[in-house]
């Protein structure tokens, strides 16, 4: 454990590398302030597979494939790959679903929230405020004993599913059979070259696996344990993306006419409140869930499926915001999401507090 002193330096360097890559991808063809967005890219992938029919947001994003495969490879090299699962899969699915509802209200996951801030999009400040409030809501339940039961070791194949799915997605991306839909205009049509996106995803996947990078973990651990390591990763991404945007001319300060964003501050905040709250109850942000699905965690894989189904429903039912603003149905969905996540918090904190194998620690 002598290398612990270097922990902070490692995550700062990793955050800087990830920030530069993420900002640079937007100049290589990805939508502005969207070098990475786990929510948007899962949504695009869902569209590419025909799970929703919103023409502007359909593309199998190689960044997602790279992240999962990169995490799978890094976990195997470090002998950390392990098939695990069985911890409240449907609750995790529901949390994943509503994380996506919140993300598509705001128009970005926590990762893209950082990139929007780094690009000068002040609407993301409202998102950040909501996000932090949501994290505090989750921390309240954690402090009072919230836990989603234990995971158990599963057969080796179980943990490989998400990585295998990503390989199939890569094949579909490269072959592009007739049943796959790719956007011809809108954000889905804007993307860097496949090799570049895939390579960027692989690098981020490896770095995120090694550093345990998590966008909710920074604030959460600071409040709970006065632990700043993950927060340094968060800040390093912000600084590196900000500097890269300045150098490449992608910084535009203001609220109006920001790329793939709307100006409704209240709903930007409430969307990210839902995301922060649900992610704390899940134990990690969408990026972390992707990475853990690559490490063999079947519960995280189910969470990713929840995110994908959530994205499909958001576009099929008109819940997703657009640059014109949120939709009435989307607002209702976010409120429902906050209530559902609140209920999940209550049930898994108070109702089953005396269950035999949860957070009760044998003396």
């Amino acid at each position: 454990m002598t290398e612990k002193k270097n922990d902070k330096l490692f995550i700062i360097i990793a955050g800087l590398v990830i920030g530069v890559i993420a900002a640079a991808l937007a100049f290589a063809g990805n939508p502005k302030n969207m070098g990475f967005c786990i929510a948007c890219f899962l949504r695009d992938t869902a569209g590419g597979l025909g799970l929703h029919k919103a023409p502007p947001v359909q593309y199998i994003r190689p960044e997602i494939i790279g992240i999962v495969i990169g995490a799978f490879a890094a976990a195997n090299v470090k002998k950390e790959f392990g098939s695990k699962g069985g911890s409240a899969p449907m609750t995790r699915f529901a949390l994943g679903f509503f994380v996506m509802v919140g993300c598509l209200m705001f128009l970005g996951c926590p990762f893209r929230m950082i990139l929007r801030l780094a690009g000068g999009d002040l609407n993301a400040v409202f998102g950040l405020v909501g996000f932090v409030i949501g994290i505090f809501c989750g921390i309240f339940f954690l402090k009072n004993g919230y836990s989603l039961k234990r995971t158990y070791t599963l057969s080796q194949g179980e943990g490989c599913w998400m990585s295998m799915i990503e390989v199939v997605l890569l094949a579909l991306l490269l072959v592009k059979p007739a049943f796959i839909a790719f956007s011809e205009e809108g954000p889905g049509s804007m993307h860097a070259a496949i090799a570049l996106s895939l390579g960027a995803g692989l690098v981020v996947g490896v770095l995120a696996q090694r550093t345990r990078l998590c966008m909710v973990g920074g604030t959460r651990d600071l409040v709970l344990f006065k632990e700043t390591r993950l927060l340094w990763g968060f800040l390093a991404i912000l600084v590196a993306a900000f500097i890269t945007n300045i150098v490449l001319g992608g910084f535009k300060l203001g609220m109006a006419e920001q790329p793939v964003a709307h100006t409704d501050g209240l709903w930007n905040a409430l969307g990210m409140l839902l995301v922060g709250f649900a992610c704390v109850l899940l134990g990690g942000c969408p990026l972390r869930q992707l990475v853990m699905s690559g490490e063999g965690n079947a519960d995280s894989a189910v969470t990713v499926l929840g995110l994908i189904v959530g994205a499909a429903c958001c576009h099929n039912f008109g819940l997703a915001s657009s640059p014109e603003g949120p939709t009435p149905a989307g607002k209702i969905a976010v409120i429902i999401g906050i209530v559902v996540v609140l209920c999940i918090g209550i049930v898994n904190t108070y109702v089953k507090e005396k269950a035999a194998d949860t957070a009760t620690d044998a003396a």
Partner: protein, 66 residues
């Protein structure tokens, strides 16, 4: 002895934190490989404890002592 096997972070750290309120000089925590090992170790070290990690094949026994 804190059994935090199969629990996802930050729950193992919270369990360790709660256990440490008793102020003893020695604790044992069982965790899964990966992030829980690092997080519990980091927390214990921040509280002035030293940590010895014993590999139990997919799980780790953390011996935490002053």
């Amino acid at each position: 002895m804190v059994d935090a096997r199969g629990l996802s972070c930050p729950v193992p750290v919270i369990m360790t934190q709660k256990a440490m309120k008793s102020g003893e000089d020695y604790y044992e925590v069982m965790v899964d490989t990966g992030a829980p090992v690092e997080n519990v170790t980091r927390y214990a070290q921040s509280q002035g404890y030293s940590v010895e990690a014993v590999d139990k094949g997919g799980e780790f026994l953390l011996k935490i002592s002053k």
